[in-house]
């Protein structure tokens, strides 16, 4: 199964005070550069589409051209929501691609091993999402901030990327999603709602998502720690 990867790098970084997390400096290099390194180390990824915003188009294109992936990479503009952006990326994959790996540029600590685990799980199950156990106690609250209930943590997981899907399932899920529904928070949610079985596989606690500026310090600390060993 020919695999193509989509890197979602068109986010608005609202909680970063205007700093684009795709280009945020981490141990001296932009977050996107770390992701491209990991992707370049996975030969099973035959094609790559990096979906960017108008604001980071030039910088992201320059980064992509500087990697060994350049010849098999397309940079394209995203849409209003994450879901639209990834969909625009999927449309740019060649017709031969049957398996689509999706990864957030805002998760720069992904490893080649984790990408490969995603591809294997996606090929085996048709739809697979990296998850980690939920270590927090999760509560449901009402609009006034009062607790409604504490959820049973043992049945909960936090979804990460990579998420890997059969292309035909993903495209069917896009067609199935009601046009005016609120956007999905990840692609697995689209595929679940279309009725396809989605399997989980182990992500990594280090594979954090840059959301706030504090996360940059955290990611830099994890990268420094990784340098002392191998890829986690």
């Amino acid at each position: 199964m020919r695999c193509g990867a989509i890197i979602a790098a068109a986010g608005s970084s609202r909680r970063m005070h205007g700093l684009d997390k795709t280009l945020a400096q981490l141990a001296g290099r932009p977050a996107l550069a770390w992701v491209l390194d990991a992707v370049a180390a996975v030969p099973e990824i035959a094609e790559l589409v990096v979906v960017v915003s108008p604001a980071n188009h030039v910088a992201a294109s320059t980064l992509c051209q500087a990697t060994p992936l350049a010849a098999r990479t397309v940079v394209c503009l995203g849409g209003t929501h994450r879901q639209d952006s990834v969909r625009a990326g999927v449309e740019r994959l060649s017709p031969e691609v049957e398996l689509v790996l999706i990864h957030d540029a805002a998760r720069p600590l992904v490893t080649p091993e984790l990408l490969r685990r995603g591809i294997e799980a996606g090929a085996a199950w048709g739809a697979a999402v990296a998850v980690v156990p939920v270590s927090d106690t999760i509560k449901q609250v009402d609009a006034s901030g009062q607790v409604v209930s504490t959820l049973d943590r043992s049945s909960l997981v936090a979804a990460q990327t990579p998420q890997v899907f059969r292309r035909d399932w993903l495209e069917a899920a896009y067609r199935h999603w009601p046009p005016h529904a609120p956007p999905a928070t990840d692609e697995a949610m689209l595929v679940e709602r279309a009725g396809f079985p989605v399997q989980t596989f182990p992500g990594s606690p280090d594979n954090l998502k840059l959301t706030t500026e504090a996360d940059l310090a955290v990611a830099a600390a994890l990268l420094a720690r990784r340098r002392q060993g191998a890829w986690a």
Copy 2:
């Protein structure tokens, strides 16, 4: 309302490879020392009970004696589960204490401001828990690892400590909890199940819980960042 604080420091640190997170070194000082600093800066806390394990009893006692809190601090041994440990601590508070603040030693980045916010919320509502928005997509999975559903993130929060309760509500909740039920993952859960309304107040994303060794690097990075400014 006289306020007493319980610091839960009797955890087994299972995911720390034998390292006790209460005593883990963070920027040159044990995690517990950072918590004691924050508590010492909140004069509203009239009494303190630090609940420890047999293994860290001596070290924790030494730390407590070295703080300005020493005269109003008791160190006692915990029980099998977190819930038993905190309960043992509550029993050591003087009868005058009407409001109980509970905080995890494994959250060393708590600030005096956050503790004070907890006390105000607990006094106002009777039961209050620090929470942060859930930034991850949370999914429910079945025993085989297949996704059952994606939860609506907008109604979910992750509970932290401090958690602050009227003492009479907390003690009623202990009596209400069935003797052979699985232990609660936080005190708010006990109080919720006893039918008392539990209100949320804003915690802090920096107020992370040390769970894995990687969290130590993360916490050190956040502490270094904090030194550049004030308490977050």
